[in-house]
Amino acid sequence: MTAASLNYSGHLHFRHRLVLSVLSGKIIKIDKIRPGDKNPGLRDYEVSLLRLIEKVTNGTVIEISLTGTAILVKPGIISGGPVVHECPPSRSVGYFLEPIITLAPFSKKPLALTLRGITTDDKDLSVDLIRTVTLPHLEPFGISDGLELKIKKRGSPPLGGGEVLFLCPIVKQVKTLNFVEPGKIKRIRGISHAVRVSPQFSNRMIEAARSVLNRYIPDIYLYSDVYKGEESGKSPGYALSLVAESTTAALHCAEAVSQPGVAPEDIALQATRSLLNEIERGGCVDQKHQTLVLLLMALGSEDVGRCRMAEPTERTIQFLRDVKDAFGTSFKIIPADKSNQSSHLLYSCYGTGYVNTNRSLA
């Protein structure tokens, strides 16, 4: 491994760059973080994420410049264990969980992370989607036993008040992925919840979503998740998350969150139509989880991993470039069908054979 550090400019792609730095053990320097902004430098949630990374690692040194427009991180080892973190109300717990999920399997001790804050918002993956879609994506890589996300309390924006517990086992090495058959959609599942508003809202969303989806497939189960009293957080809100599962266990998901002045039926319709968009786009992994799967493919054992997905997003493109900086791994991306039937692409790479050296020897 080379000793060179990772140098970047700008505030974009902050999370995956930190993750790559911690996993590769390379020092990361980021400058020009919102230099021309009225409120320059790091935002409170970015500082909070740095603090969280400090908590799940041991020996990490973080230096933030006086103006907050430049940072330097010398990553330590990923230690895991029990950790509690308060998330600021500016971002939901999903913002913090996404990067942590990629670090946790490589820690010294199994991670038991309690996060408090907003559990569902319109920017990041909600805890429902992380539990039902993101975590199952880790299974083919050999990360499954003891992997769990418990939603103890829900918290809607703006005040939050939710609490989740994330449990993650440790692995020595991740398996090579070979996922090229998207299959056909066999069932649709969903979770609808409403906190601090009439529980009837939840049922109205389910009915509206059913009226559309039932025309495709009969195997639909939409669950109304009820949280009462203390468990329902500090602010009112409701949301519907939908997951379509294929015969080869490819997952496509969509979600819509309550907005002021919009009827629950319209929120449900928004979620349903977004799901149809996702299904139309197809592939084995949806665009929201491209970076997660590609990262684990790059870390996989020394063999060729393959995955069929739709076109990369802007985030994914930058991510692929950053993976090359950190690990020297580049992906081969070719059309999945010779006949040009679909716009799907086949992503393949030779795994780096990343070994969890933090793991305590039993």
Binding site: H11, I217, R273, G282, Q287, L320, R321, I333, L345
Partner: protein, 93 residues
């Protein structure tokens, strides 16, 4: 547009060009934009090029679809076009 995107050589665009991710996804900058840049060269002072990204653009995983992407599902033809992706649909598209 669909034709062009199929012809894209993603491996080359990502690893051997300096194009920004935005340019790769949306296509290369068109001629009109480039002309605009040249016009500015006549001025003695040039405005510092506004960066592509505004300070508040979020590092967010969830994408939101523009409303026309959602209302298209009201169309029955569109609605039936993805039936073959379900096990209940027939195999021939």
């Amino acid at each position: 547009l669909a034709q062009r995107s199929k012809a894209k050589d993603w491996t080359r665009l990502i690893y051997s060009t300096a194009l920004s991710p935005h340019q790769i996804v949306r296509g290369e900058p068109n001629a009109a934009d480039r002309e605009k840049d040249e016009e500015n060269d006549d001025d003695f002072f040039t405005l510092k090029k506004a960066t592509d990204v505004d300070a508040d653009s979020m590092d967010a995983t969830k994408e939101t679809y523009p409303s026309d992407q959602l209302t298209k599902w009201d169309n029955e033809e569109m609605f039936d076009s993805i039936r073959n992706l379900f096990i209940t649909g027939r195999n021939d598209p």
